[in-house]
């Protein structure tokens, strides 16, 4: 018997139909499990195993391989600061320290309230807009330490249900890797990538 909501189960069936072999659905289903609970629990991994027909140990072996499957409770906002080479050259470390200092959360941790998690990450493919960071994998490029502090304060005050990359870029970003003329009306609802088939994408009817 599934512990997942009917909506999530429906989503899981749709995802499984996209692959010729069941096991290939493990990765998207792990995201679903995260979206259901906010992080990847043991129960979530067992459930995924039942769907694709592998043991919990096999699921765990996969989940532990990838950094985006968070097995510890993660904040409503996951702030990932890039400190790889191109960002490091342009002050990525200072941005990370500003985020840690303003939020009071050292990298790899979450605040007691469960609002913010901070991590430093390797290159997120935004090196032309270095230093860059992501909030729930929505990208902000050309950040400064001061702007990063503002971003942290804004998250704490506004507490948006959905975070939009374009909006954060406008408020807190600077130089971008390349021009992007259009506003995108999709955003992230939690610390997992916002993608339609995973049902983790925010409303398209943004005011």
């Amino acid at each position: 018997m599934s512990q997942w909501s009917e909506a999530t189960q429906e989503r899981a069936r749709e995802i499984m139909a996209r692959y010729p072999q069941k096991r290939s659905a493990v990765m998207p289903l792990l995201y679903l499990a995260m979206a259901e609970e906010g992080h990847l629990s043991d129960a979530g991994m067992e459930e995924v195993g039942r769907w694709v027909g592998i043991t919990p140990a096999q699921v765990q072996a996969v989940a532990t391989f990838y950094t985006m499957y968070k097995r510890k409770p993660t904040g409503k906002y996951l702030i990932s600061c890039c400190t790889s080479i191109s960002c490091m050259l342009l002050g990525g470390d200072d941005v990370l320290h500003a985020v840690e200092d303003e939020s009071g959360v050292p990298h790899g941790e979450t605040d007691p309230e469960g609002l913010v998690s901070v991590e430093h990450v390797e290159c997120i493919g935004a090196c032309g807009g270095a230093p860059a960071l992501q909030v729930n994998y929505e990208l902000v490029e050309g950040v400064t330490p001061d702007k990063a502090r503002e971003l942290v304060r804004w998250l704490g005050n506004a507490r948006p249900e959905v975070v939009y990359g374009d909006e954060m870029q406008e408020l807190f970003g600077g130089v971008r890797s390349f021009d992007w003329a259009i506003r995108e009306e999709n955003g992230a609802m939690g610390p997992y990538p916002a993608f339609q088939p995973l049902g983790t994408v925010g409303s398209e009817e943004k005011a």
Binding site: R18, Y19, P20, Q21, R23, S24, A25, V26, M27, P28, L30, Y31, V52, I54, A61, V62, F65, Y66, T67, M68, Y69, S80, T83, S84, I85, S86, M88, L89, L90, V121, E122, C123, I124, G125, A126, C127, G128, A130, Q134, Y137, E138, L139, G165, V175, S177, F178, D179, W180, A181, I182, E184, N186, A188, P193, A194, F195, Q196, P197, L198, V201
Partner: protein
Amino acid sequence: MTTPLVVTKRMSEFPADSHTIDRYEATGGYEQARRALGMTRDQLVEEIKASGLLGRGGAAFPAGMKWSFLAPARPSFLVVNGDESEPGTFKDRQLLERDPHQMLEGVIITAIANEVHHAFVYIRGEYPKPARRVQAAVDEARARGYLGRGIFGSDYDLELTVHLGAGAYICGEETALINSLEGLRGEPRLKPPYFPAAKGLYMQPTIVNNVETMSNLPHILAMGSEEFTRIGHPDDTGTFLISVSGHVNRPGNYELPHGITWRHLIYEIAGGIPGDRELKAIIPGGASAPWFVPEIHLDDQITKDVCAEAGSMLGSGAVIVMDETTCMVRAAERIVRFFAHESCGQCTPCREGTTWMEMILRRIEEGQGRPIDLDLLLDVSDNISVGLNWPPKMTTICPLGPSAVSPILALRDYFRDEVQAHVELGGCPLELEKAAV
């Protein structure tokens, strides 16, 4: 020298809607996919072979030749590599976000040429926006009957699944990508026997090609392979996307022909170095590539062969520019840290070696280095990449381990004094200088 834009043409001319199917079709889109349906596998493979198109994922393998190696067993599969995670690289993201239909048309052409009825686009997990763009394009194409059952009114079926990674650079390696897509840990497989074209996804013949490679295909069919070979450099046809980052005034992706010089790229195209500071080092092809220095390489041409002769590679086309304010030990540490973090752990030299190297570099950077540390670094490096040459002798299942040695080669060849100064002064000379001012 004016070279026409190929893969970034539409997005530069129509910045507001280059990603939509209407704009795509209004600019000749999907005509080549229709045409491909009327061509045989041999005709398509020959056309791409004749174009000289090299894979744009880093290994520069001829695309047409790869297709010709596809084993006869069926079903065959196609996996597009959109895992783009090599530090410094952000070109595929631009192609995915801004012209997803161009890539999809490439997918349809490749599928037809390789008798594929189910293709996958694997996009790194940290790229949800590109993935949303591609999914939206897939939905648009499906609605018009260009994907799914009987594409373009023919009897050819083509399914397409967009798959999201979950944070592992190694999944960009094609056999790791396949494992990941099978729902396994993203660990590279041994080649031989697991060449994707023979035993790939679900042990079936599989083509793995990069996003930029795919994006070139509609243009090759449209202009003809002969015309395509006239763009760029005779050894390296067509254009290629270079991602420039680091200490330059105008970072970004530039679509260029091979054959310009590093000087031209950095000082003209990318606008030079902020504050007119001195150039110190160039990483020519992503974090995996051995570094260049201006004294020796600045006027070298940017081609695959010139780069190889100079002991490096163009790799994924990521150029990272470092000026005189950059500590080379720190830069090396950052790159080695990346490989230590991303090692899948299957091979001892890679798993243990990268971790050791990171530790030693950090200790030198922090002023705790010992006089023997550079030799120790070279010794550890030699265990991962025997003989310390480029291209490396392989002691590991995949090239990730040996790539981690690239910055160490630079320290050995060009920045030995800087390393020694760290040890003698008990810290970074650049930092100490700054503190003294």
